[in-house]
């Protein structure tokens, strides 16, 4: 029985319109000729040129990319280790505290995380800059990575790992040649999540950056506070475009992998018959 009704169609149309219209308007007005963002004065790519000539924006973008790349890479390694410990590690002293420290940062208000890290850096006398932002971002994004990876670790069949160990693999070899390939999609997803979270973060970066380093969100925030500007629209459009391409291609890749997997399973079944 089909339960798709007019109500559902309206809910979906209205819902997705609400989600997407603000962003579509943002993109359209990035091609506006006028400096006044809310008044349409003709098509122009003027503001994109302006954006790429703005050295402050380019510097901030470069800082942000470096921070995101380094912090998400360390966070992925630490987060995968933490997930492995939580799912496969068995009992050890302070396990409850450990899992609490993994889940708490996910729901902690950013202002508190930011303030606490800043006070730590000040009290141990660490100069604030790119390095401290990396430390801060690594800390909260490793928790996200750990959650993503552990859900994958829970779901797959443990017997393959045990088989490898029975056949004489060392635990490290078993991890590298059996576990890691199986959790690889989750590890990659975790890295991407950590990377995006770092690119996106304003509050924690503002606390931990100090006066010497400026990230893109800090730069955007300070200019947006003064009101709308066409340069920010142009920058937003570029960021939205990158995310859209990324998400669509990721979903295509995962779709192809599911199809491939189904085909493999079918072939395996046929071979058995």
């Amino acid at each position: 029985m089909r339960r798709f009704s007019w109500f559902n169609a309206t809910a979906l149309t209205a819902g997705f319109a609400f989600l997407y219209i603000p962003m579509i308007i943002l993109v359209i007005y990035s091609f506006n000729e006028s400096r006044l963002v809310t008044v349409w004065a003709g098509f122009s790519t003027h503001w994109y040129g302006e954006l790429f000539r703005d050295q402050a924006f380019l510097d901030a973008a470069w800082v942000t990319l470096r921070v995101a790349f380094v912090s998400s890479t360390i966070a992925t390694i630490l987060g995968t280790m933490a997930a492995y410990v939580l799912v496969r590690g068995g009992k050890f002293m302070g396990r409850t505290l450990f899992s609490g420290m993994i889940y708490a940062p996910l729901v902690m208000p950013e202002v508190i995380t930011g303030l606490s890290l800043l006070l730590l850096f000040i009290s141990i006398g660490l100069d604030r800059g790119i390095f401290t932002i990396i430390l801060a971002h690594t800390t909260f994004s490793m928790c996200y990575v750990s959650v993503v990876v552990s859900s994958r670790l829970v779901s797959f069949d443990r017997s393959v790992e045990e088989a490898a160990l029975d056949l004489g693999c060392t635990p490290f070899d078993a991890f590298r040649s059996v576990t890691l390939p199986l959790i690889a999609p989750a590890v990659i997803a975790g890295w991407l999540l950590a990377f995006t979270l770092s690119l996106d973060d304003l509050v924690i970066a503002s606390f931990t950056a100090g006066p010497s380093a400026t990230t893109l969100p800090i730069k955007i925030f300070s200019s947006v506070r003064l009101g709308v500007s066409p340069e920010i629209n142009a920058l937003s459009t570029i960021l939205i475009l990158i995310v859209t391409i990324g998400v669509i291609s990721a979903s295509l890749v995962s779709k192809r992998r599911i199809v491939q997997q189904q085909r493999d399973e079918q072939m395996a079944e046929q071979a058995q018959q």
């Binding site: 029985m1 339960r3 798709f4 009704s5 109500f7 559902n8 809910a11 979906l12 819902g15 997705f16 609400f18 989600l19 603000p22 962003m23 308007i25 943002l26 007005y29 963002v37 809310t38 630490l78 987060g79 933490a82 492995y84 410990v85 590690g89 450990f98 420290m101 708490a104 729901v107 208000p109 950013e110 202002v111 508190i112 303030l115 606490s116 890290l117 006070l119 730590l120 009290s123 801060a136 690594t138 490793m142 750990s146 490290f172 996106d200 304003l202 509050v203 606390f207 969100p217 955007i220 925030f221 947006v224 506070r225 009101g227 709308v228 937003s236 960021l239 939205i240 998400v247 979903s251």
Partner: protein, 298 residues
């Protein structure tokens, strides 16, 4: 326990201890200190060179003065209460907007669902800041919404939405909507449609079948989604400061200003500790709900 296992547990453990747990101890310590015109701007600081005397003097100088100050100045009370109010109302609004979308997704043809899922997740990957920024252009006095309403003749004077709590509600609903849709969708998708068919065969109307069957069965999704919106909304900073203007009081903004504008670190720390205490209850409830769901799945 061998060395490899110890390293595997030890490295992430130490990292979180040093960069997550220890900082909370430091916040707590500084919340008991006093404001001072110095670098760092609080007193006392621990001076180990004076030995035991220094440590005793340090602890003697800590007191609860900042917490007393928070109860005396009604700015802070009003900020906590207004944050709670804004978080509760916007969680409810997000539920009202999100539930029909999740419902529509769960009832759509299975081949559509991955695409709809992607459309919900896409905004989540897009910069939070940009999604809030998009509303400034829409809601401001000369913004697109007012232009549209003036042009159609519905209103004759521009509506003041920007810099009011309404703008904050819109901002929170818009940015947190995926967090509400996804858990509700997950519970609705698992639901067995034959229950509804049975109810209708037994003479239930569609609407009452929804109230009696669908809504209770999606309860765990509603609870999870509500916590996922409520908890971060309570400490929200970006949305009230960009859309709320000076008329909206939220504790995240108060903490930020106490720290960056007034440079009063001890009071900012005390504000953070109280906020944390308020959040402990919903966080524990949320975790209980998640554990119950996991048990139900197993």
């Amino acid at each position: 326990m061998n060395l490899a296992r110890r390293t595997l547990i030890g490295i992430p453990y130490l990292w979180l201890l040093l960069l997550f747990l220890v900082p909370f101890g430091i916040i707590f310590k500084i919340s008991l200190s006093d404001y001072a015109v110095s670098i760092p701007p609080y007193t006392p600081t621990l001076d180990l060179s004076e030995g035991w005397q220094g440590i005793r003097g340090f602890f003697a100088a800590l007191d609860w003065e900042n917490y007393v100050f928070l109860t005396e100045d009604d700015l802070y009370w009003r900020a906590y209460l207004s944050s709670l109010k804004i978080a509760v109302i916007s969680t409810f609004l997000t539920l009202l907007v999100g539930y029909p979308i999740a419902y529509g997704m769960a009832k759509s043809a299975p081949e559509w669902r991955p695409m709809l899922m992607m459309l919900v997740i896409l905004p989540f990957w897009t910069s939070f800041l940009i999604r809030v920024y998009a509303w400034i252009g829409i809601l401001s006095n000369e913004g697109y919404l007012n232009q549209l309403l003036l042009w159609t003749g519905i209103i004759s004077d521009p509506l003041q939405i920007m810099n009011t709590p309404t703008a904050v509600y819109i901002g929170i609903v818009y940015t947190y909507l995926p967090f509400m849709i996804l858990p509700i969708y997950a519970t609705l998708e698992r639901m067995d449609d034959s229950l509804l068919e049975a109810a209708e065969d037994l003479g239930c109307s569609r609407l009452s079948a929804f109230w009696i069957i669908t809504l209770p069965l999606s309860r765990s999704g509603i609870i999870a989604g509500s916590f996922l919106v409520f908890i971060p909304a309570l400490g929200e900073f970006v949305i009230p400061s960009l859309l709320g203007g000076s008329s909206t009081l939220m504790i995240g903004k108060v903490l930020w200003e106490e720290f960056f504008s007034n440079r009063d670190w001890p009071v900012a720390s005390a504000v953070a500790i109280i906020l944390l205490l308020i959040l402990v209850i919903p966080i524990i409830l949320f975790q209980k709900n998640q554990e119950k769901n996991q048990e139900a799945d197993a």
